[in-house]
């Protein structure tokens, strides 16, 4: 059992990151606005014509409508994971921002929690921007699709925690290539993002069920297509458990790394 030393002051860390983000929003807004355009044209238009429709929860779904929520889930994953790996590492190691914070009444637990909440927030911002674009394509079913926003926060938290665990461990910034190659990229491809998990061999299906992106894709897809499925509820539960396990690991890992 670990005791976390947290107070509301952790939001000051979050606010610091928001302040910096606001300075560069014009650049930060570009990827989430253009990415869905690229994916939907390349896969949706290019590949969609060949694929036609897919069966989803007993109904036929256009290929573009199928991959749109997959693209959102990928954005959530990457937004949070990259924020709490590369960006957090830069703040921790190169800019010594955490050291400076620790000379104030902020605790390390608050710094790390504030960073993780910020990572999840970036996932939410990215999702909302993407939703604007995808809505123009008419691929989101409202009002259900509004739940994508809290879903992005939950998924964002899950990947933010995972990112922070990596940041606590990696010796150098280049080492992030490893979790990206072994964890992020396989999920990007095999978590039901661009084709149903059911198309995979059984062993790979089972493996996919262990991965958090599979569940996040499931959740996003069910909300985007306007139906709350059992799989979506399982996904929420899975992501919650994932956070409950990884968040303390992230804090403990960072304590071990920085308090000496």
């Amino acid at each position: 059992m670990i005791v976390l030393n947290l107070s509301r002051r952790l939001m000051r860390v979050w606010q610091r990151n928001l302040l910096v983000y606001r300075k560069t929003w014009k650049i930060s807004f570009v990827p989430p606005l253009t990415e869905p355009l690229l994916y939907l044209t390349a896969f949706g238009v290019g590949l969609g014509g060949m694929v036609g429709t897919l069966a989803y929860d007993g109904a036929a779904v256009e290929y573009t409508a199928f991959i749109a929520p997959g693209v959102i889930a990928i954005t959530i994953m990457q937004g949070a994971f990259f924020e709490n790996t590369y960006s957090s590492f830069v703040r921790m190691y190169y800019q010594k921002t955490f050291d400076a914070m620790l000379a104030t009444p902020l605790t390390l637990d608050e710094v790390i929690t504030g960073e993780i909440l910020w990572g999840a927030t970036k996932a939410v911002i990215g999702t909302m921007l993407m939703m604007l674009v995808i809505t123009l394509f008419g691929l989101l079913h409202y009002p259900h699709a509004l739940l994508l926003i809290p879903a992005a926060f939950l998924g964002g938290l899950a990947f933010a925690c995972a990112g922070m665990v990596c940041t606590a461990i990696v010796p150098t910034i280049e080492t992030f290539n490893l979790p990206i190659f072994l964890f992020i990229t396989p999920m990007f491809l095999f978590s039901g993002t661009f084709f149903p998990v059911a198309n995979l061999p059984v062993w790979a299906q089972l493996l996919a069920q262990v991965l958090p992106l599979t569940h996040l894709v499931e959740l996003c897809r069910s909300l985007a297509l306007g139906q709350i499925t059992v799989a979506a509820l399982v996904a929420v539960l899975y992501l919650l458990v994932w956070c409950v396990v990884l968040f303390p690991l992230a804090v403990l890992g960072m304590r071990r790394r920085l308090i000496r």
């Binding site: 606010q15 302040l19 910096v20 300075k23 010594k96 400076a100 104030t104 009444p105 308090i259």
Partner: protein
């Protein structure tokens, strides 16, 4: 009034390496106290323990009369720290650096506004509020670090090598700021590698080596005790001079061609040397803290 810092038998090891090996000292209110020592002496580790960054292995630590354990959040609100590395926020402007830091202390907005203005004035950073930290020179960065450390109006200011790498102008400017703070009664703990700086700023100091305190006292007293009033330096000592210092059992150090003689009353000896033994390259100068430091910690390189 209780001492601002009371350290008793403080220890910290990293594996087999003992960084701080049972040190004891106290810093009184209003004092400027120096921690000196060669690299690896344990100064920064000590400082980090003093503000709760590094957990100590053993020993007791009280700040403002309060035992530190479990009270760090409150205590850190009363301390200002200039860490050794410039860890200003490079993503922010000068003004934002101060404002964001103030937010970490939960200072109310009205207070922050006023304090930022007065600190910018105090550190002569007015007119640069909007400058990015990346565009500042070393001297300006250091001034901003000082301003940032004062944002919470601390009762204890901790400075870890505040003037390393600064040009003489910036150094003197910083010293005058520190003088002014001292005039207001601020207690300061300082580490530095510059002995002139320590001599100029510190009321009392300790010289540490290998995690232990070697001596403690006021700079003038330490100089008098360990070196004397003056020092004679001979650039290229000849053999009969070496014989002379040995015969008279003078207090000296032989540094190859160079000879350093610690003479209680240097004046007459100096005249004698000048007249009879060396006609040039012989110099009489007042003893400094650097002489004390080198005598106590030796001349071998540490790293």
């Amino acid at each position: 009034m209780p001492a601002v810092i009371e350290v008793d038998n403080l220890r910290k090891s990293y594996g087999a390496f003992v960084a701080v090996d049972g040190i004891t000292f106290a810093v009184q209110s209003g004092e400027c106290f120096g921690l000196l020592g060669p690299n690896g002496a344990g100064k920064t580790t000590t400082i980090r323990m003093l503000y709760g960054f590094t957990p100590r292995d053993s020993g007791s630590l009280r700040l403002f009369g309060t035992p530190c354990d479990g009270a760090w959040r409150l205590l850190k609100g009363r301390i200002g720290i200039c860490q050794q590395e410039n860890n200003l926020d490079p993503d922010l402007t000068v003004r934002e650096n101060l404002e964001v830091f103030a937010a970490y202390f939960n200072l109310p907005a009205a207070v922050v506004h006023e304090r930022v203005a007065s600190l910018l004035r105090f550190t002569a950073l007015e007119g640069r509020e909007q400058a990015g930290v990346r565009d500042l020179s070393g001297g300006l960065m250091r001034r901003l670090v000082l301003a940032r450390a004062l944002i919470n109006e601390p009762q204890l200011l901790i400075l870890d090598e505040p003037t390393t790498g600064l040009d003489p102008q910036s150094r003197h400017q910083l010293w005058s700021r520190l003088d002014e703070l001292k005039g207001r009664g601020l207690t300061t703990l300082l580490t530095t590698h510059y002995m002139d700086e320590a001599q100029r700023l510190c009321d009392r100091l300790v010289i540490m080596d290998q995690g232990r305190i070697l001596v403690e006292g006021a700079p003038r007293d330490l100089i008098r005790q360990h070196v004397g009033e003056s020092v004679i330096e001979v650039v290229a000592a000849c053999d009969d001079l070496r014989r002379l210092v040995q015969e008279r059992a003078l207090d000296y150090e032989d540094l190859g061609p160079r000879l350093v003689i610690y003479s209680g009353d240097g004046e007459s000896l100096y005249r004698e040397l000048l007249a009879e033994h060396c006609h040039e390259g012989c110099m009489l100068r007042p003893a400094t803290l650097e002489d004390v430091f080198l005598r106590l910690t030796g001349r071998e390189l540490r790293e």
